[in-house]
């Protein structure tokens, strides 16, 4: 059981993923996002080698539609897989195998896909989409966070009619550089969606400071000093 959103920001071309699940440490899957290439995020009985394969194919010039055929032709368990792919041109495709179990499904939008399995129902993927579309002018990472919250508030994960907790979550955004701009994780928590908002908001307070410290260390105050200024500003 997992629900995710992948997207390419229509204004900036940045790629981003937001994902949450019952499994531990879902954010370890950083092979799923490749700057200037695309995103392939597989879930439900996922083979970890699939996402790097898809991204290699995208980088060669394959389109997502053809890649799905290629994956299908080499996988006897294709009916158990769920994934979504988005490329540099915002071509999006999603696949939800019929044998994954209830409820599983996806929505494909013009530059994003929301999808999940072991969910309360279609309302979860609709809730992800609604959260994502709430502030379409916001930077991609804020939209991904609202998307996860939207999915959670719409019922999130459930089996046999019972809500199942999210235990890990992940938001990653890449721009043109090889390393991510945003990569925020909660690996194991009882209240994961609230926790990722807490970490996200704190990271945003530090983001510019961290960037200056890397690029212009001679003019940077110590983090201890910065933290205490933050605290006194918050009072």
């Amino acid at each position: 059981m997992t629900y995710s959103i992948i997207a390419r920001c229509p204004k900036t071309g940045r790629f981003g993923v937001g994902s949450t699940t019952f499994s531990i440490a879902c954010g370890r899957r950083n092979e799923s996002v490749r700057p200037n290439v695309g995103i392939s995020k597989s879930q439900a009985f996922y083979l970890r080698g699939v996402d790097p394969l898809v991204l290699n194919l995208l980088a060669q010039g394959y389109k997502p539609e053809r890649i799905v055929q290629i994956l299908n032709s080499d996988d006897p368990d294709f009916e158990y897989r769920q994934f979504a792919i988005i490329d540099r041109e915002s071509n999006v495709i999603a696949h939800t195998g019929p044998k994954i179990g209830q409820w599983a499904g996806h929505i494909v939008g013009p530059y994003y896909a929301t999808y999940g399995n072991g969910l309360a129902g279609p309302q979860t993927v609709q809730g992800i989409e609604a959260g994502f579309m709430k502030n379409p002018d916001a930077p991609l990472e804020y939209r991904l966070l609202e998307a996860l919250e939207g999915g959670h508030n719409a019922g999130g994960q459930a089996t046999k009619g019972r809500y199942r907790p999210e235990r890990s979550a992940w938001i990653r955004v890449v721009d043109r550089l090889e390393y991510p701009e945003i990569d925020i994780r909660v690996d194991l928590h009882d209240d994961t969606i609230a926790e990722i908002r807490r970490v996200f908001e704190e990271f945003k307070r530090y983001e510019t400071y961290y960037s200056n410290r890397s690029n212009n260390p001679a003019d940077t105050i110590s983090e201890e000093e910065f933290s205490s200024r933050l605290k006194s500003n918050n009072r």
């Binding site: 531990i24 370890r28 090889e178 994780r185 704190e202 110590s222 201890e224």
Partner: protein
Amino acid sequence: MTYTILARCPQSGRFGLATASYSICVGLHCDGAARSNTGVSFTQGSFRDANNRFAMNLIAQGYSARQAMGELLANDPQSDFRHIGIIDREGKVVVHTGTRIAASSVHRVGDGYAVLGDMAAGEKVIDAIATAYDSMGSLDLEERLLGSLESGRDAGGIRGSKGRLPERSVALVVFGKRDFSDVDLRVDMHTAAVDELRRLYTDYKPHEAYYLQRALSPRNAIPSMEFADMLKKEEK
């Protein structure tokens, strides 16, 4: 305000690092730091995320760790502010401690590993990390790295101007033979992040084989909720 151990496992050839920091989300800076069949490199002091992949690309094209370090320094006008470790496929270890990072910044180089400490509570912290790593030669790399990090915490961890500062984030990363990680665990913001990493690792480890197996054989896989319940029963 970070202490780190980078290592190449002499038995398996796997590469990994464990890092603990007063900064939040230190795992962000570990992106691309280790690469299968290539090496591991990390830049702290003033983090420079681009160095990770740059070092790995240089080693992949055939440079030694020493040559790669030379290029990292020549390529960076701020190299005086960096604290860098690089290990290559041969297990060669090279460390750079910039002259303009805090005076308390220190390092140790051992057999196939390096320890970096910035604003750690003196030499005893990195000594404790090195001693712990040396003492766990028979364990898997991830166990050695985690245990070493805990020894650093126990020896005093991170010290600021007014005394001890908490480890607020940690990352533990290991790459083996595949083009994705064997282990990649993080705590991004916590008041006792090293303790939290142990809790996370303990819960994660029994799932590791399950997560692989359910994908290889989905027809026979048991649901993840059931698996988690089984684990709980075994504990009792």
